[in-house]
Every structure is written in C-alpha cells, then in structure tokens.
Amino acid sequence: MSSVAWQPSDPLWLRRTVAEPGTETVTREQAPDSGTHEAPLDFCGADNGEAVVIRGVGKRFGETPVLQGIDLSISPGAFVAIVGRSGCGKSTLLRLLAGLAEPNEGQVLVGGAPVQGFRPATRIMFQDARLLPWRRVLQNVGLGLRGDWKPIAAAALAQVGLGDRGGDWPSVLSGGQRQRVALARALVGRPRLLLLDEPLGALDALTRIEMQGLIEGLWREQGFTAVLVTHDVAEAVTLADRVVMIDHGRIVLDQAITLPRPRRRSAAVFAELEGAILSRLLDRPGGPAAFV
C-alpha cells in the first residue's frame, strides 16, 4: 500500500464513533421471514456478543461426511479461532453458523435460538472482499442500510482508516484496502456475531499483521463474538481466546490462549504455543513427511 493514513499505532480505530441523533431510525433491511431481533445500534461493551452453541452437529455432502459429532460452545464476546488443514470442514462449520448451510444432524444455536437462514445480527467476512464493483466504497459499506445511512457508513469507513476513500470505486483499492472496506461493511450494522472465513488469507504478510491489529481493536471495542477460520496458526494465536482444531470433521484440540493482549509474536510463550499447535496440526501419519 502506498499512501495509507492508517497505521497499527494510529488510535483511529480505538475512537468510539459517536452515534448521531436520529440514527436510531436506521435499520438493516430485513427479509420478511427473518423474525430475529435487531442488533441495537447503541450497546455497551462485552455484553454485545451472542453465545454460540453447537450440539452434535454433523454435515454430509452426498455420502461424504464433512463434519461429525461437533460439540462446541462459545461464550458471548469470545474470540475463537478454528484451525485445520484445507478440506477439514472448518469453512463448512462457519457456513452452518452463518445459516448459509444446514446441518444434517444436531443443532446450531446462536443467541439461544436455532439458526434458520441469515440473521441480521450475524455478519460474515470472506477471503475475497466481495465488494460490488459498480457501487462506490461508501455505498458498499452502507449496503442494505435504510434511512439516513451515509453518516453511519462514513463512520464505519473511518473506523477502518479509509474515511477519505468513500467516493472511490472498489477497483482502485488494493487488496488490503478492499478487505478493510469489507470489514467496515460487516461492522456497520453492529453485528453480535462476526464470522471470518480466512479473511486475511490473500493478503501479504505486512498487511495481514495490520489487519489483525485492526480486527482485534474493533473486537475489543465492540464486544461482538468472533469466530475466525484460518490455516495460519500464528494468526489464530495472535487473535483468539481459544483455538479449536478440526481434523477429518472432528474437533481434535480445544486450546485456551490466555496471553495478555496485544500479543507479541516475539514472546517465547507465543512461539511455544504456536509450535505446539502447529505440531499437533501436522502430527498424523505421513503428516510432516508429506511436505518434504
């Protein structure tokens, strides 16, 4: 990135955006059948997040089981990372949480209610930013907002350090900037559950570290529950309270990370944890040898 105003040390994202009078009228457009409640625009800290409970969930594609007997419960406001090799079923689990797919067995509860289709309080961020190329950056952030949406979208854009790029087309942004716009779009409706499907996977190492700082800061500020799917163990250890490993459709590791935040990758404990999880990830017959 060339001339980007935002830096990890920039306290921009720590600044609370002040809700302007009259913004209460702004709501997400709702599908007629979605009976779930709105995420309140005004919230205070950690009780904004929703609890996630997964009970005995199994998912098959045709005859192939992708997930089997998954039990996982995530407390409100927690940051959980799901790691695993590609094809282990971690993205499928995220899609179940988002309501983009339905389990063949078991139950997925978010905020105490079974997930049925998309919910306004859940937002998902994908590996590709998925910005509408024919709408300007600000309109992308405000997608689906009603009423006087512009100040709200602009505030969300400022939170990710792109306040001055609202009038640009997405095609002129760099990959990292596009992901930041996608993050602003995900957060503009004040979600209570944020699902991240390898959102930083396509970014260069430097941009990725910046984005991790940004996501962590916004998570601490807004208190939503976050579920991050990643294959980058260092990223999982940097961000998560808990690292859950999935292998062959089952949970094989559930590791609490209690390091103080913000976490330093150079710290010995960090490296130890990362190494332990990584070797667990590779620890299977033919595992490490397969890469040689």
């Binding site: 457009e29 983009l100 998309f118 024919w134 689906g144």
Partner: protein, 262 residues
C-alpha cells in the same frame, strides 16, 4: 503550439488520412472523366444531391420515417428480448419453459420471413416493425440471460447475507452485474436493426431511405443512391457511438470502460 500537443493532434488526425485520400482520389478520377457518373458520381455531385434533397424536404422526411421505424422496432424487440432474458435468467422454470423455443426461433434467419411478412402485413409499417423487432430481440435476449447467469456467486451470497430484499437485490446487484453483457447485446442489436431495416425498406416500402434509394435506381440517379448508402453508414455510426456513450456512462465503475478510455 508545443511539440507534445502538436503530436497529440497529429495522432488524432492520422485515422482520417486514408479516408480523405480515398475521397480526393475519387474526386480526381471522376473529374478526369475516368469514372463514369453512372458507376460512381463525383463526391461533389453526391454532396450536391444531398443538399438538393435536404432543401426539398425529401431527405429529412425519409430520414425521419426510417429513424422512427428503427427506433420503434428496437424498443419493441429489445423490450421483449430483455423481458425474456430477465425472466429466464432469474427463474429456472421460465428458462425450461421458454429457452429452447427461443433457440429454435433464433435459428430462422429473420430476413427469410420477408415473403411471409409481406403476405401478412403488406408493405405497411407493421411489416418493418415486425422484422426489426424480431432481429433485435435475440441478441438482447441472449446477452441479458447470459449476463444474469454469469454474475459472481460470491456477490450474490454476500448480498443474501445482508438480507437485501428482492427489489434491492435486483437493482443493486443483478441488473448492474448483468449490464456489461446487456450493453454488448445492445450494440450488436443496433447493427442488426439497421441491416434489417435496409433490407426491408429496399424490398417493400413506400417511404424511408431504402425506398428513396430504390426509386433513384429506377431513374438511374446514382448520386441519390450513394447519398442513401452514406446515410445508412452515418446512422449506423451514430447508433454505435450512442451505445458506446451509454457504456461509458453506465459502466464508469468498470476499469475497462470508465477511466482514461476514449
């Protein structure tokens, strides 16, 4: 004038060099008497004919008639094609119901219907409207259909997770996503529109540019025939420029159309 701006002007004028040379050569050959006015009258004679026809009101009248025919045929045929394209692109049921019929009808060369169309409508306006509409319908239909079906699934999924209503979904995601393809169809359809109209007016009409050309042929007025041909060329070019302008305005977000492209 600086060297840079002089070379920029030169660059813009270069494409016109060859056409101008051809016209000069043509004028030279005609003036020298090497080119019979029966075969090809001199450019000055053509210009004089055009001027005389304009002053008598004949040319504007025929031009207006042809233009209205082209436009109404385009609106009717394009509208039908667009509606079927939308319906079949959005609904699998509609696709199963209509798509193979559209494919079958498309394979009939629409100009082959001229004898039948004359039997049905005589040489009235309906005949021309029918033929133009039929010709214009298919490119618009296919490109609308194709445009909708090739919208990025990721974007559709993203839009669904944002609970966009079906109205917003259409206006904010589906239509703009299909627009580049639809506009390709429009440009293609404009070409077919003029071609169909030329043929239809030449064969069966009592007004319009094609009629003007055919009448002139009977009286051996080669200059008027050339005027008609040049008019068709100018109209075709104008339609294409209009379509390009539409692309530039509607697709300004697109890296290939929006910035820095002429």
């Amino acid at each position: 004038m600086s060297r840079a701006s002089r070379s920029a002007v030169g660059e813009r004028l270069t494409p016109f060099l060859v056409p101008v040379l051809i016209v000069v050569l043509w004028q030279g050959l005609a003036s020298a008497g090497w080119l019979s006015t029966r075969v090809l009258p001199a450019p000055t004679a053509v210009a004089t004919a055009a001027w005389t026809l304009t002053r008598s009101g004949e040319l504007p009248h025929h031009l207006a008639v042809s233009f209205v025919r082209a436009l109404s045929g385009f609106v009717v045929g394009g509208g039908i094609g667009f509606c079927f394209g939308l319906a079949n692109g959005l609904s699998r049921l509609s696709e199963r119901l209509f798509d193979s019929t559209m494919q079958m009808v498309r394979n009939i060369p629409h100009l082959a219907l001229i004898p039948l169309v004359i039997l049905w409508f005589g040489i009235d306006e309906e005949a021309k409207l029918f033929l133009v509409a039929l010709g214009v319908m298919f490119p618009i239909y296919f490109n609308t259909f194709h445009g909708i079906r090739t919208i990025d699934d990721g974007l559709l999924e993203m839009a669904r997770t944002h609970q966009l209503g079906s109205w917003s979904m259409f206006w904010q995601v589906i239509l703009p996503g299909a627009l580049p393809s639809i506009l390709v169809g429009v440009r293609y359809a404009l070409g077919i529109m003029w071609l169909t109209l030329i043929v239809a007016e030449t064969i069966a009409a009592s007004s319009g540019i094609g009629y003007m050309a055919m009448t002139a042929r009977e009286f051996l007025q080669t200059d008027i025939v050339v005027v008609s041909i040049l008019l068709y060329a100018a109209l075709g070019k104008a339609a294409d420029s209009a379509a390009r302008g539409l692309e530039r305005v509607c697709l300004s977000w697109h890296p290939a159309f929006g910035r820095g492209q002429a």
